[in-house]
Structures are given as C-alpha cells and as structure tokens.
C-alpha cells in the first residue's frame, strides 16, 4: 500500500513539474503561434487573389487585408458551427467564414477555405473562384495546412509544381467533379500529356501523378475540397 502511494506521489510530482514548464512554454508561444497562423492566412489570401498566369493582383492593392479587421470586413458567409458546407461522400468541407472580394473589373471573387481528408488528417486549402456568367472559374489555391502529411510525399502538395496543377480550372471541369488523373483512369500518362494539361482541366482531370509520385491520397483530398467548395458556391450564389 505504501509503495503504491509513493508511486502515485512521484508520478503526480513529475507530471506537475512537466505541466508547469509546458504551460510556461504554451503561454510564451501563444501569441507567436496566433501571429504565424494569421500571417499564413493573409499570405494565402493574397496568393489566391493573384492571377497565376500574369502574376498581377486580381483586386486593387488596398483590397488585400493586412489586419483582422480588414479581413472581417470581407466576410461573405459565416456560421457559428465553423462549417459552412459539407459533403461527407467526397469527403469535402467548407469552413467558415467565406470571403467576397471585388475584382478590378467589378467581378465577384470568392475566397473560400476548406479541407479534405489526406493520409494523416485534414488538408486545409484556400481557393479563389471568379464568378462568370455561366458559373465559376477556379483561379488558384494555396494549401495552408498539410502538417499531418508525409514529408517528401504528401507534404509536397504545396510545392509550386504541384499546386499549379490545381490552378485555372474552368466550370466545365467541375460539372462532374474534378478528379486526380489516377482516379480518372488516366494512368500511365501519355507521352504528350504536358501539352494536354489545360484540356484535361476542362474535363475535370488534374494531372498530379508525375509531380507527386507515390502520393495519391493528398492531392485527392485537395480535389475533394475544391469540389465541395464549388458545390457550396452553386448552392449559395444565385
């Protein structure tokens, strides 16, 4: 009995000391972590509001948020549950809030955050959609959280080579949901596939197997996220 009490006391004491040190580090890093996460979000929004072809901003410079207040002023839809739309079949989820920006020519540009399920957990993507007469064109994406994906494999999802494969997908591509080429029975790739990438996008096929060998689940999760975002926009924008 005495030994059990001693074990319990020692364990409590050790955990208490670790807990105190840990809480100190937590308090110390709380602000830097919030700042780092927020900066990543601002950078992602600026990135997706840039035309990937020309490198020019799609909105006026003063529209790019640099503070939380400026960002909050751009909120288009929000929900206290944190989720604006979900499609568990994909699975793909749209997170709250969604933002609306006015383009240089007055067009609506929706900036949406969402996630799909990757190899290790959530893969969070920010994407911009430009409203057109007959639907939406997906402009660019930035994957802001892939911290549970495997380094060197799934974690390559935000490498410029990989990320760019998800840029500039027209509304025709989303009609029957977009898919990575392995899921669209386009594997192995034909020799002239690089020239055909824009045509594949029109059919909803995103070629990733050449730039992300050995990792299909992570790009699939991004495709599912974009599909959920498109469904959400079709439902909410009249």
């Amino acid at each position: 009995m005495g030994n059990h009490v001693k074990v319990a006391l020692v364990l409590t004491l050790v955990m208490l000391i670790i807990g105190i040190i840990l809480s100190g580090v937590y308090v110390m890093t709380l602000n830097p972590i919030q700042k780092a996460d927020l900066n990543a979000k601002f950078e992602a929004i600026k990135f997706v509001l840039t035309d990937p072809q020309t490198g020019q901003l799609l909105v006026n410079t003063d529209q790019i948020p640099e503070t939380m207040a400026q960002l909050n002023a751009k909120i288009w839809k929000s929900d206290s549950s944190g989720v604006l739309y979900s499609n568990s079949k994909l699975p793909g989820y749209v997170l709250s809030p969604a933002y609306l920006f006015k383009g240089k020519n007055g067009e609506n540009i929706y900036v949406i955050t969402g996630y799909g399920i990757g190899f290790g957990g959530r893969v969070v993507t920010v994407a911009s959609f430009i409203q057109q007469k007959n639907g939406f064109i997906e402009n660019a994406i930035d994957v802001i959280d892939f911290s549970t994906e495997t380094p060197g494999l799934g974690a390559k999802i935000n490498d410029p080579d990989v990320r760019s494969r998800f840029f500039d997908i027209p509304n025709s591509g989303f009609k029957d949901t977009i898919k990575v080429n392995k899921d669209a029975d386009l594997f192995p790739l034909p020799s002239n596939y690089k020239a055909e990438i824009p045509a594949y996008k029109k059919k909803g096929i995103v070629v990733t197997s050449d730039v992300m060998t050995g990792a299909t689940i992570t790009p699939r999760s991004v495709a599912n996220t974009l599909n959920a975002m498109y469904e959400f926009l079709e439902k909410e924008v009249k």
Binding site: V7, L11, V14, V25, N31, I33
Partner: protein
C-alpha cells in the same frame, strides 16, 4: 557507479561515430527515412531531436533516484513527450514553414527509439551533467547522420543543397526522393561506416602487433 567509468568527453563523443544512433545503433530510422528529403528538413528534424534528447536526458537524470523502478518507462515517456510538445510549440510559433513541412514527424519524436533508449541506457544511471552531454552527443550524431542523408538526397533529387543549385536539373536521379532511394542512401552510408570501422580496427590490431 557508471559515472566513474565514463569521462565527460567520452559521453559527448560516443554518439558522433562509434555509437552513432543512425548508422551504428540503427535507431529511430523512421523519421530519418521520411524527413531526409531535403537538407533543410533534415536540419530542422535533427535540431529538434537534439534539443529533446539533451533536455530529456538532463531532466530524467535529475529525477532518476526518486522514480520507482516499476513506473520508470511511463515517466520517461511523459518527460520526453513534454519536451517534444515544447519543441513543437516553439517551431510552430517561430519557424512556421519548417514546422509545416516536418509535419507529423515532430510529435512522433516522442516514440523515436533514441530518446527513450538513452534515457534507459544512460540518463537513468548517470549524473545530470554527463547525461546532458550524452544527449547532446547522441543528438549531434543523429543530426550529422540525417544531414548527410538529407544533403545527398536533395543533391541527387533536385541538384541543389539548401536550395542552392549545384548541377543542372537534367542530371537528377528522381528515385532518391522516394522511399526506396532513402533505403539506398542509408544503406550505402551504413556500409561506408562499417568499412571505416573495420579499417580502423585492422590498423589498431596491426599497431598493437608491431608494438609487441
């Protein structure tokens, strides 16, 4: 008792080559294989593991005499988990992009064999100072090994080291970035370490033979 036999210098340097945790003890290979796709990732992972090793060894050695034998492993794991969480928080706050690219492998340092192995084999039997040096030395050995593999893989996969181009992209060997490439590189370095060890052993034998 073990303290009398091991000098501080020996505690610090054992992990560099003689008992290198990666190439000689073959411990903690999972993160080495997964994270060593680039020199930057390898440096980040190596430094994180070094910090956890040195601090957990130090802390475990401080409390070694009060921890009941039957619960020592859960206590060691809890201490290591505490330091790993601290490293994770610090990297999230101050080195965001590195934290993002190392991903799940930072929390997984908790279950890496090296910190627990050193806690059980060294820190539980030696003074805090020597345990700290042992953790530091083993961490340096791990850092050196993962850096060597990371530099090699980045060089052959992308033709760069820390992003600086060394040779044109046309000469890249893509397989090096994939898991088989990691096994290939680590196997070659292990063979090299074994060969160096054997040559040094032969020289020592020859030297002692001549002196007789």
């Amino acid at each position: 008792m073990a303290d009398n036999k091991i000098s501080s210098w020996s505690a610090l340097t054992a992990g560099w080559i003689r008992q290198n945790p990666t190439f000689v003890q073959v411990l903690g290979l999972c993160p080495v294989l997964a994270v060593s796709t680039s020199a930057e990732n390898a440096l980040g992972m190596g430094l994180a593991t070094l910090g956890v090793l040195a601090l957990s060894n130090l802390f475990i050695s401080f409390v070694r005499n009060v921890i009941p034998n039957e619960v020592r492993i859960p206590v060691y794991i809890s201490i290591i988990a505490g330091f790993v969480t601290m490293v994770n928080l610090l990297m999230h706050g101050y080195t965001y992009s590195l934290w993002l690219s190392l991903g799940i492998y930072i929390p997984l340092i908790v279950v890496n064999c090296i910190p627990l192995g050193r806690a059980e084999a060294f820190a539980s039997k030696n003074t805090p100072w020597k345990s700290f040096l042992d953790g530091l030395g083993m961490g340096m050995g791990f850092l050196g090994a993962i850096m060597l593999i990371g530099i090699t893989r980045e060089l052959f996969d992308a033709g760069t080291i820390f992003g600086y181009r060394i040779w044109p992209a046309a000469y890249n060997v893509f397989v090096i970035a994939l898991p088989p490439g990691a096994f290939l590189v680590i196997g070659l370095y292990m063979g090299l370490f074994k060969y160096i060890g054997r040559m040094r052993g032969q020289k020592r034998i020859q030297g002692s033979g001549e002196s007789k």
